[in-house]
């Protein structure tokens, strides 16, 4: 080898002295540190610091920073040893897979870069339905550092062979072994469980955190398959089928197919509910009922339809009920309506099932012959199990994918029973509420590390494949069970063998159909039977699944539901679901679609009730107006939560979300699952030796009542106000559009039908904003105020050619289709590395959301011209404006996705002193972070308020250490390498996923073709399960977005101010009378 030159900066380095080695570790020299300590001295905080000192320090810091910045860091480049053929560094690979966690199910495509999964999007070619926010943000949980990294016995880490031999010994001598699992829909997993059960004479008990056992009982042990796309009239009694009920992501796609007025028909949706649910906010007619009325409404519908005498209700409800029944009658025997209820009371479900039969929906919109395989949990069996455990009769308990110590109504009894079980094994991924109390913890792989197969219903089998090698020493739960059943086969081989009996590891026979199944995510061969033969027959006191057969008994029972002074309705939130996602900071920070509150759960209450209780001052929550906390007592259990005003909440009822209060015993369930304070430390933690982290919100699973053995999510409550105030972090404080009709435009179906053929801007519901001109534009021969020209024709600047020059990227958002489900919000944030900022920062209005969904309620005074109502209320002009901010008691709701509108005449661009935000010739309002100096003029000048100022170094500042994924060693692997991680002091906003536009154009150039319409999709458009967002090139005359932009319903938000946005909205058309 030739002479190797060595450079050194001093003799210390040359000789490698200890002092030098130490100094290498410190980026800044001791002097710099001393100075920073000095600067941090408290005396300097006083205002008496002389100006000269300030200048001195400033000079010093500038010099120090310059010197420190001059040193270029050495970065290593490490190629593979042998590059896998499918990986090209810099190019993403997509793998078809399936998401199932016991609650949500979705066909997904996993985007990986250099082997790391970084994004989840719907498998639109082969999957059914879209994805919700919970599924598309689940990629974060793969990198959660609090996941168990290997098997444990108590707190002690063990090897797999150690736990295996210990468990094998204990299982051999145990009697009455139980497996408590979430609903298993994997045919092969079921087989593995049966093998284990046969070997050890064990019984499988399936348990769902949120139970549907009442629904199952009412339909002869089957959960029917519903089809919302065929129903002309939809009546939902408290079923949140768009947000969380059953397979809501599939229902949402079906539902929105029939919510477009351009189709041959548009469905009409009636909702009877207590809380303001996402589904209710999209309904055409919505009535407020108490939870105890759910059965009565169902009974009334049934009795009216069958000619019986029905109960009557107060007028508001009765009107809606009459209309709904009339519509149902219209569609009777056509299989064109659908009635569902979210109640888990088997009697109510029975009535609804009968209604659907009476209406002739069976076989069209309801298929209860086959049903779906989800939610097969049996509440009665679980109750019996807890009893058995407490009586010491259970020898061994294996917990698999469920967390009963958190989610059972009688969790305390479960915990005390668990202590009496000699051998308790948890296969959960975390040392969660249940796992940490088990003797053994044998962690399962994350779903992105696992093979699996799923049968959502008979006739369909989906395949799940790993997108990454397992990060830690975990093992598939199925493989653990097989191992303990003396089957040493690996889980993958077992799965392959199940599909191809000729498969063996030695021959490695790969057949085409398997590869195709892995490629598409769907098994095309003979579908796998999901055997219900799981182990030995129930050994408990012969309580077979009871099905309700007697409709008259059901009617009596439903009408006799208990009522109370205050009734409570429990619900699941869009973000948290049943609580599995407590560790996901993206979901914690996802604003609730209705209340827009982040990082919390709370009591929802009608504003009128709050006034009555004397806390009317706390209806308008803001930065300085805090919520009042109250104690809610149900079943002898009390929780203390803040009260959130919720227009549309039924009077004398309250709603609280389940899924919060995870980790009350300071379990290791993920760092983001706990409340953090102003400087990023956990609340309470560190105050004394025994301090534990404070969970977010409170657990209300204990409030679940039991009706005929089934968990029912409503109850009678007592409410007691406290003096305590509480900060709530909400991203939207105002409630209504305040009469600014040009933001949201809406009309009713009949009106739309009349005017749908008029050109854009000429219909009464979509008036073109124009300015009066001295030209006879309307050709009436007179120059007057009616001669108007479209505001787009006016320019302050020289015309900038946009039409037909290159590309002009644009978007159309159908407000009629948008349900507000917020899947786009999480998808956008993960795609664009948008930082999570935590509750305290959201409370200061420093949330970083590039995409938000504005939710507007209607108010009684629609506009200032509504003189009739104003007079009726006796209000002046000022009073009218103030009153316009008040939503109605039962308002209509609009969900409006709002992000940078990429104005062609952008007000932000003209005020930037450093030209950091400029207009591209492709119509994008581009943001150049490296040029931005953070004056924030642009944000002030933005009419849509979509620009976000990056206040902190979120990647390093301690305030975000527990919640921001980029501060975690593994968590930062989820960052998108094609998007800059912005630094402190710059403005940021939606870029219309410019990284995707650039790569899409590059692909077209490489393929030597024009960019095909639809080949470039923004993250939000791709994620939308309702297909409400369309992205494309407005200069491509054939593109869908061009057609939509010229549509009768198309308008630009606040178009009259002349900013010429490239984002179009489609007017909402409601299927109501007026």
């Amino acid at each position: 080898m030739g002479v190797t030159k060595k450079y050194w900066t001093g003799l210390d380095e040359l000789h490698g002295t200890e002092g030098y080695k130490e100094s290498v570790q410190n980026e800044f020299t001791a002097e710099t540190q001393a100075a920073s300590e000095f600067l941090a001295e408290e005396s300097l905080d006083e205002t008496s610091t002389p100006r000269r000192d300030f200048l001195k320090f400033m000079g010093f810091s500038v010099t120090a920073a310059t010197l420190a910045a001059c040193e270029a860091p050495v970065i290593k480049s490490i190629p593979y040893i042998n590059r896998p053929a499918e990986i090209v560094p810099g190019i993403a690979n997509y793998y078809a897979s399936t998401y199932y966690d016991g609650n949500d199910y979705g066909n997904i495509l996993v985007k990986t870069r250099e082997g790391r999964p970084i994004f989840i999007k719907p498998n639109k070619d082969f999957g059914e339905g879209g994805l919700n926010a919970r599924i598309n943000s689940s990629v974060i949980s793969l990198y959660d550092e609090e996941r168990l990294r290997g098997p444990q016995m108590g707190d002690a880490a063990k090897t797999w062979s150690q736990v295996d031999s210990a468990i094998a010994g204990e299982l051999a001598s145990a009697s009455n072994i139980k497996i408590l699992s979430s609903t298993i829909i994997s045919p092969t997993a079921k087989k593995a469980v049966s093998e284990f059960a046969a070997k050890h004479n064990a019984e499988l008990i399936q348990y769902d955190a949120v139970s549907y056992s009442g629904l199952k009982k009412a339909n002869n042990g089957i959960i029917p398959k519903y089809d919302f796309s065929k129903a002309r009239t939809i009546v939902s009694i408290a079923a949140d089928f768009i947000g969380t009920w059953l397979t809501s992501n599939v229902f949402q796609t079906q539902y929105t197919k029939r919510r477009q007025p351009e189709g041959s028909w548009m469905s009409q949706h009636y909702q009877f509910e207590t809380n303001m649910s996402l589904t209710g906010s999209n309904a055409d007619y919505r009535a407020l009922i108490k939870p105890s009325d759910e059965g009565k409404i169902a009974a009334a519908i049934y009795e009216t339809l069958t000619g019986g005498t029905a109960d009557t209700f107060e007028k508001a409800i009765q009107d809606n009920l009459d209309k709904a029944v009339a519509k149902l009658r219209e569609n009777k025997d056509k299989g064109a309506s659908l009635v569902v209820t979210g109640s888990n009371d088997s009697n109510v479900q029975k009535i609804v099932a009968e209604i659907n039969k009476v209406l002739g929906n069976e076989g069209v919109t309801v298929d209860s012959s086959q049903g779906i395989n989800f939610f097969q949990g049996d509440d009665t069996k679980v109750t019996n199990l807890v009893k058995e455990m407490n009586s010491g009769k259970v020898g061994a308990l294996i917990v698999m994918g469920v967390n009963p110590a958190y989610s059972l109504a009688n969790a305390e009894e479960f915990v005390s029973g668990l202590a009496k079980v000699k051998t308790s094994i948890s296969l959960n991924k975390y040392a969660d509420e249940t796992g940490s109390k088990c003797k053994y913890m044998c962690p399962d792989n994350h779903f992105l590390e696992s093979w699996n197969d799923f049968s959502p219903y008979e006739g369909r089998t989906d395949i799940s494949q790993p997108a990454i090698n397992k990060l830690w020493s975990t093992r598939p739960a199925q493989e653990s069970l097989l191992k303990w059943a003396d089957n040493d086969m690996s889980w993958y081989n077992y799965l392959r063998t199940n599909y191809n009996s000729s498969y063996s590891e030695a021959t490695k026979h790969f057949d085409d159909s398997w590869n195709k199944a892995v490629m598409t995510g769907v098994w095309a061969g003979a579908s796998m039977e999901l055997s219900n033969n799981s182990g030995t027959e129930s050994t408990s006191e012969g309580e077979e699944t009871v099905s309700v057969n007697n409709i008259s008994a059901a009617l009596v029972a439903a009408k006799g539901a208990k009522t109370g002074d205050w009734e409570i309705k429990l619900y699941e939130k869009i973000g948290m679901g049943a609580g599995d996602h407590a560790n996901n900071p993206f979901l914690q920070e996802l604003p609730d679609p209705m209340t827009k509150v982040t990082w919390d759960n709370y009591i929802t209450m009608a504003p009128s009730d709050m006034r009555e209780l004397g806390i009317g001052d706390h209806i308008y929550l803001g930065q300085r107006t805090f919520a009042i906390k109250a104690n809610v007592t149900v079943n002898g259990k009390t929780v203390n939560l803040p009260i959130m005003p919720q227009p549309g909440q039924a009077s004398k009822t309250i709603g609280i979300a389940v899924g919060y209060g995870r980790g009350a015993g300071d379990e290791l369930i993920g760092r983001a699952a706990y409340q953090t304070g102003e400087y990023g430390d956990y609340l309470n933690a560190g105050t004394d030796e025994n301090a534990v982290r404070t969970p977010i919100g409170a657990n209300v699973f204990g409030f679940v009542s039991s009706v005929a053995g089934d968990s029912v999510y409503s109850n009678i409550a007592t409410l007691e106000l406290t003096e305590e105030e509480y900060k709530i972090a909400s991203t939207q404080m105002h409630s209504t559009v305040m009469g600014r009709d040009s933001i949201v435009k809406e009309t009713v179906l009949a009106q739309f039908e009349k005017e749908k053929n008029k050109p854009k801007g000429m219909s009464t519901y979509n008036v073109m904003p124009g300015l009066v001109v001295h030209e006879d534009t309307n050709n009436d021969g007179v120059l007057d105020g009616r001669d108007k020209s479209h505001v787009r024709n006016f320019d302050l600047w020289e015309a900038h050619s946009v039409e037909q020059v290159g590309h002009r990227w644009g978007m159309s958002i159908d407000l009629g289709s948008c349900n507000g489900c917020s899947a786009c919000v999480t998808a956008c944030h993960i795609e664009n590395n948008v930082p999570v900022v935590g509750k305290d920062e959201v409370h200061r209005h420093r949330d970083m959301h590039w995409m938000r969904i504005d939710r507007y309620y209607s108010s009684e005074i629609k506009s200032i011209n509504d003189t009739e109502t104003i007079e009726e209320k006796g209000l002046g002009v000022i009073g009218a404006y103030a009153d316009m901010e008040n939503p109605e008691d039962n308002p209509q709701t609009v969900h409006m996705p709002m992000m940078c509108q990429h104005c062609n005449h952008a007000p932000c661009e003209t005020v930037c002193p450093v030209a950091a935000t400029t207009h591209s010739n492709e119509g994008l309002n581009q943001m150049t972070y490296n040029r931005c100096i953070g004056t924030r003029y642009c944000a002030n000048n933005c009419p849509y308020k979509v620009r976000r100022f990056n206040w902190f170094n979120y990647q390093a500042y301690k305030k975000f250490k527990h919640i921001n994924v980029s501060q975690q060693e593994y968590g930062r692997m989820v960052l998108n390498p094609d998007v800059t991680v912005r630094s402190r002091g710059v403005m940021e906003k939606c870029s219309l996923c410019v990284q995707r536009i650039q790569s899409g154009k590059l692909e077209a150039k490489k393929a030597s073709t024009p960019v095909p319409d639809g080949s470039i999709q923004t993250a939000c458009a791709e994620a939308c399960p309702a297909n409400a967002i369309t992205f494309g090139d407005l200069n491509d005359k054939k593109s869908v977005v061009t057609q939509l932009s010229a549509d009768n319903r198309a308008y630009g938000a606040l178009e009259e101010i002349g900013v010429q946005p490239n984002i179009y909205y489609q007017t909402i058309v409601r299927n109501t009378e007026a």
């Binding site: 030159k5 190629p79 190019i91 490296n930 040029r931 073709t1009």
Partner: protein, 469 residues
């Protein structure tokens, strides 16, 4: 784990002078020995060129085995078989078919390991020249290791003390001392003169006070002077100083393997994309993985000298290859090669190789300079190198700005043209078709074509979000 039974040759770092001297004499002595040669009178230089182009990859001249037996002493071994060796070189299997005992023996010895030699497209004269070259070949005498450095170290020379600023500073200090001394002397003289005349010396004032009073007396001059100094010296100086931060032209950090681009890309003519094979597909050009190196180096085990052989051995150490047995070592703990990244684009800059290599069709040399002619390890060229290259090659755009600065990028985007008018690329064709559809578009196109070229800039190549997002 490296297996113990594999004595991998150690990298030789030093050789004693006496050893070098000894080997020098040995080589001279050996080469002077006369072999009875089968071919004589060929052209030595022509033979060298044919040998280097056709033979050198597999055959050595020093007795070592690369991918075939060494040609050292070949004339002696084939003595009296002039025809046969010509046949063998042109068509080995034909020569084998003659059944000549030497040929058969040699083929049986070498073909199992290396396979048959390719039929060489050479004529008898070439063969004669090569054999002359082989017989008369004298290995270059390595006088000192400094001479070898050229192959390995293209590190730019450091700026020495010949920096003019250094001399200006020294002059300034000397002048300052003289000025102060002169002023002190002048003052002393003035004071004594005054003292003699009036009996009182000049009132004692400090230099500072005197400067102040002088400045006060010459306000206009002082302000103009300050203004001139600030505008014409301080500001440009500070600006240049600032702009020079982090410009690292010609930066070449030490690398784990002294890979030689001049040899591989230049002399051996290996296509750049053979190793950097994602350059036309991805944003990254891609670093070759050691197993890609092994495609060739499974056969090519020896370099032109010991140092190069030692570098090749490093690849074997990474992947666990036993060059003598010609097999991979079982259960070897293979290690990736940890290269030091030469250039780091900041996070907020997006650069895509495939856009430039595949779509624009730029030569690698446009940015990487004379990789194949001049240097060892990869890097972006210096601006001098690019400008020099542009003089020789019309396809290279001459760029004056410091490389890897934004000015450099946009300079090129301002000069480089796009062929929109032809139908080669359907994408650009579509853009062109749209442009001529409207009057405004036609106006724009006319403006673009004023200089007869549509530049990248005119199609938006200067826009921020092309590279910053």
């Amino acid at each position: 784990m490296k297996s113990g039974n594999n004595p991998l040759p150690k990298v030789q770092n030093q050789r004693s002078k006496s050893y070098k001297l000894l080997s020098f004499f040995a080589i001279v002595f050996l080469s002077l020995q006369t072999f009875a040669t089968i071919h004589e009178g060929g052209d030595y230089d022509a033979g060298e060129s044919v040998f280097n182009n056709n033979c050198a990859t597999c055959h050595s001249l020093d007795g070592s085995v690369l991918a075939a037996p060494s040609l050292k002493g070949v004339s002696g071994r084939w003595e009296g078989k002039d025809e046969l060796i010509n046949t063998w070189i042109k068509n080995p299997k034909k020569a084998f078919a003659t059944g000549d005992a030497y040929v058969v023996g040699m083929a049986n010895k070498w073909t199992p390991q290396f396979g048959w030699m390719q039929n060489q497209a050479v004529n008898d004269e070439d063969i004669n020249n090569v054999l002359t070259y082989v017989s008369e070949y004298v290995p270059p005498v390595v006088v000192s290791s400094a001479g070898e450095k050229d192959w390995y170290n293209a590190t730019p020379e450091e700026a020495g003390a010949d920096n003019p600023i250094f001399w200006y500073l020294i002059l300034t200090v000397i002048f300052a001392i003289i000025a102060v001394a002169a002023s002190g002397a002048g003052r002393a003289i003035g004071s004594s003169i005054q003292e003699r005349e009036t009996g009182d010396g000049i009132a004692h004032t400090s230099y500072g006070d005197r400067v102040k009073s002088w400045l006060w007396d010459n306000k206009a001059f002082a302000s103009i002077l300050t203004f001139v100094i600030v505008i014409f010296f301080l500001i440009p100086w500070g600006y240049n100083l600032g702009m020079a931060i982090n410009i690292m032209e010609g930066h070449m950090p030490e690398q784990p393997i002294a890979f030689n681009h001049k040899l591989h890309a230049g002399k051996n003519g290996i296509n750049c994309e053979y190793c950097h094979n994602s350059a036309s597909k991805s944003k990254h050009a891609g670093l070759p993985e050691p197993m890609l190196c092994m495609n060739c180096h499974k056969g090519v085990k020896k370099g032109h000298n010991d140092e190069m052989t030692a570098e090749i051995q490093k690849i074997y150490d990474y992947v666990g290859f036993d060059p003598e047995a010609g097999t991979y070592i079982a259960d070897y703990d293979q290690q990736p090669i940890t290269w030091n990244k030469v250039h780091n684009l900041p996070d907020h800059v997006y650069f895509n190789h495939s856009q430039h290599v595949n779509v624009a069709g730029l030569a690698c040399q446009q940015c990487h300079g004379p990789v194949d002619q001049d240097y060892m390890l990869g890097k972006v060229a210096t601006s001098e190198e690019i400008m020099k290259l542009a003089e020789e090659d019309v396809t290279i755009i001459s760029l004056e700005k410091d490389v890897l600065t934004m000015g450099w990028c946009i300079e090129c985007h301002n000069k480089a043209g796009i062929s929109v008018m032809n139908t080669e690329n359907g994408y650009y064709q579509e853009i062109h078709d749209r442009l001529i559809e409207t009057d405004l578009g036609k106006r724009d196109l006319k403006k673009y074509l004023e200089d007869n070229v549509i530049t990248v800039k005119e199609l938006g190549g200067w826009e921020c979000s092309k590279c910053h997002y």
